[in-house]
């Protein structure tokens, strides 16, 4: 999960997020080299003794500073498009969950087999137990089986929201009257936190998302328990 003064991404918990991390490293190296070149050119320009100010054209440098940026953009675009299409692959999900945004909480519906639905409210700061995270914990988590493809259908009941879990590399807008689909596979068991990512009113910052990935038998036990409680 996120830690204070963090600048980079969280550790990846899904294959797509791993690919995004690697793409980010690739692009950052290109940006670093461009920055180094620009810095060097600035120093060279400031320290030059050349004073010819009447050069009107130069074919060679024009070709260089047209072709080089085009090559750089292609080097960035190809891996980017690869990941874009990877994210859209049809992956035959084992489970479909509906995540509905409300003001100001999320509700989850597991309706593949039984009719299971519950609300997920943020735990207020004064009710937190020691070790829990402020503004991130919820009373009910979205529990999913690990290493299984999961489809999430995101929508909203009132205004725009956005269902985002950075560790899984997911962000999907929740639009009233529209069903948006996203999918993920968790590579390892764990608890992954996210927050609403579309301004939705006074408590927009206080409707977090918690995804808990557990082994299949634990998921079955949890869903039986939740059905009994409801």
């Amino acid at each position: 999960m996120a830690h204070p003064s963090q600048l980079g991404f969280q550790d990846a918990a899904s294959p797509v997020m791993e690919e995004l991390l690697h793409f980010h490293d690739h692009t950052l190296m290109i940006v670093f080299l461009i920055s180094t070149l620009v810095l060097y050119i600035i120093v060279a320009m400031v320290s030059t003794k050349l004073t010819n100010k009447y050069v009107l054209d130069s074919q060679e440098i024009e070709i260089v500073w047209t072709v080089l940026p085009a090559v750089i953009l292609i080097l960035i675009a190809l891996p980017s498009l690869r990941i874009l299409y990877l994210m859209d692959e049809i992956n035959d999900p084992h489970l479909t969950i509906k995540a509905m945004g409300h003001q100001w909480y999320w509700s989850y519906e597991y309706t593949d087999y039984e009719d299971l639905g519950f609300d997920s409210y943020m735990i207020p700061t004064q009710d937190l137990s020691p070790g829990q995270f402020r503004l991130l914990e919820t009373d009910h988590r979205m529990v999913v089986p690990m290493e299984s493809p999961i489809r999430v259908l995101v929508s909203a009941e009132d205004v725009l929201h956005s269902w985002a879990v950075p560790a899984l590399g997911i962000k999907m807008d929740a639009v009233p009257g529209r069903l948006n689909q996203t999918a993920f596979i968790t590579s390892r068991p764990g608890v992954y936190y996210g927050q609403c990512s579309e301004i939705c009113g006074a408590n927009h910052s206080f409707m977090p998302i918690v995804v808990e990935a557990v082994p299949l038998e634990h998921f079955e036990n949890w869903s039986s328990l939740m059905l009994e409680e409801s």
Binding site: H3, Q6, G8, H22, D25, H26, L28, M29, V31, F32, L33, S35, T36, L37, L39, Y40, A44
Partner: protein, 117 residues
């Protein structure tokens, strides 16, 4: 564990404030190769021509090309390794799950070898 992880992250060294060479795979290697090439090319050019500014230009050019080349080579090998690790992990999982059943992947291979001989 979380505290140790945070300590490792706070110790990260970022070149130009952006590139974390300690935690980014292949970054340290690429920058070191680039720096070595930059020194060699720049020094070599200066020794051959005694032109200081042009030698610096060659040094920077050498740094950029070598860093990029080393980076792509290392990342390509890294990606191949990760693919192989994924295949091995999936293979082990399938072996454990389907051992003794008709879907056992090793059983299929053995039966096809037996049929051929």
């Amino acid at each position: 564990m979380a505290v140790e992880g945070e300590e490792e992250k706070t110790k990260s060294f970022k070149l130009l404030g952006i590139l974390d060479i300690q935690n980014t795979p292949c970054a340290r290697e690429a920058v070191l190769h680039g720096s070595a090439a930059s020194i060699l090319v720049g020094l070599g050019h200066f020794l051959a021509t005694s032109r200081v500014k042009r030698s610096f230009d060659f040094g920077v050019g050498g740094f950029m090309l070598t860093t990029l080349g080393s980076w792509f080579y290392c990342r390509y090998n890294n990606a191949k390794l990760r693919m192989q690790q994924k295949l091995i992990k999936d293979g082990l999982k399938n072996k454990v799950m389907y051992e003794g059943t008709s879907l056992d992947p090793t059983r299929k291979q053995n039966s096809s070898q037996g049929g051929g001989s």
